[in-house]
């Protein structure tokens, strides 16, 4: 599924620049070590982490985008770093659970 389609259907906020990308599955974790181990290239990463090093992990694994849930504010330095490295950060006021429910509803598979 195209990232833009997901953004439109679920109502995600664009916190960084966004480019055309395909999303292949969802990964949920707040541990970077977990992302390093288990996330797959093309995954949408749902987290409440907003530290700059999330950009480092997402870029290394080539994740489709980071989605920060619970309406958590993302520091400007994280956004600036993400834009430089073409890492997409999206935001949602929904809880991770509510967002997952919506993502399943639009047909995005795990």
């Amino acid at each position: 599924m195209k990232l833009q389609e997901i953004i439109d259907k679920v109502g995600l906020k664009k916190l960084t620049n966004v480019e055309v990308r395909n999303v292949q599955g969802v990964f949920i974790s707040d541990m970077l070590s977990d992302v390093m181990t288990n996330a797959k290239s093309g995954n949408l990463w749902l987290t409440v982490q907003t530290h700059k090093n999330t950009v480092s992990a997402a870029n290394l694994i080539n994740l489709a985008a980071i989605v920060v849930t619970h309406g958590k504010e993302v520091p400007q330095e994280t956004i600036d770093l993400a834009n430089r490295f073409y890492v997409i950060i999206l935001g949602s006021d929904l809880s991770t659970y509510e967002l997952v429910s919506k993502l399943i509803g639009i047909g995005l598979k795990p």
Binding site: L32, S33, M36, S41, G42, N53, A57, I61, L81, Y86
Partner: protein, 179 residues
């Protein structure tokens, strides 16, 4: 007859949760880093040769090895403490020069770093760094961007490097409270 060379396909194996421990010797001022696989990070002060190591901080991370799924070759990464993304924090650093050169083609520089002090602990070989780079690029699949892994020995001053380390901060890590 010569055996055919395997075009390795790497897989992360032997993944062990651990703490990256940072200590400082108040005798010589050197910084020491290493893995600890215990349930809690060791925080006691101790003596090792001429060093008096004092706990500074810890962060959760993982230790792993790589195994080829085709030929079963196992490459151990005991010398690898972690990887960090070069952000070009030092104009005079060779890693920054490499990042500037590769950035237009979306090739990102990651620094593989070993345990400190560099001259007292075994460091990653060039061959292992090359295998690590191969693994991360294989994992990226159809990506139009690439990863370039370099040794921390290229970095001008690894102790002052502000590259973004992939480790878990502020959640399960323990740092001594300020006095």
């Amino acid at each position: 007859m010569q055996k055919e060379k395997c075009a390795h396909t790497w897989q992360m194996v032997n993944v062990t949760p651990c703490f990256i421990i940072t200590e400082k010797c108040y005798h010589c001022g050197k910084i020491s880093t290493y893995f600890s696989t215990g349930h809690n990070p060791p925080m006691e002060e101790y003596r090792e040769g001429e060093h008096y190591w004092n706990f500074m901080e810890s962060a959760q991370s993982i230790h792993f090895d790589l195994k080829c799924t085709k030929c079963n070759m196992l490459v151990k990464f005991d010398e690898l403490l972690g990887v960090k993304m070069c952000t070009g924090c030092d104009e005079n650093c060779e890693a920054n020069t490499l990042l500037k050169k590769l950035e237009p083609e979306r090739t990102w520089v990651y620094i593989a770093f070993g345990c400190l002090p560099v001259n007292e602990k075994k460091q990653l070989s060039k061959e292992k760094i090359s295998i690590l780079e191969e693994y991360f690029n294989q994992r990226r699949k159809s990506s139009k961007s690439r990863i370039k892994v370099i040794s921390h020995e290229i970095v001008s001053n690894i102790e002052d490097c502000y590259a973004e380390v992939i480790k878990d901060v502020d959640m399960l890590s323990l740092t001594l409270p300020e006095k």
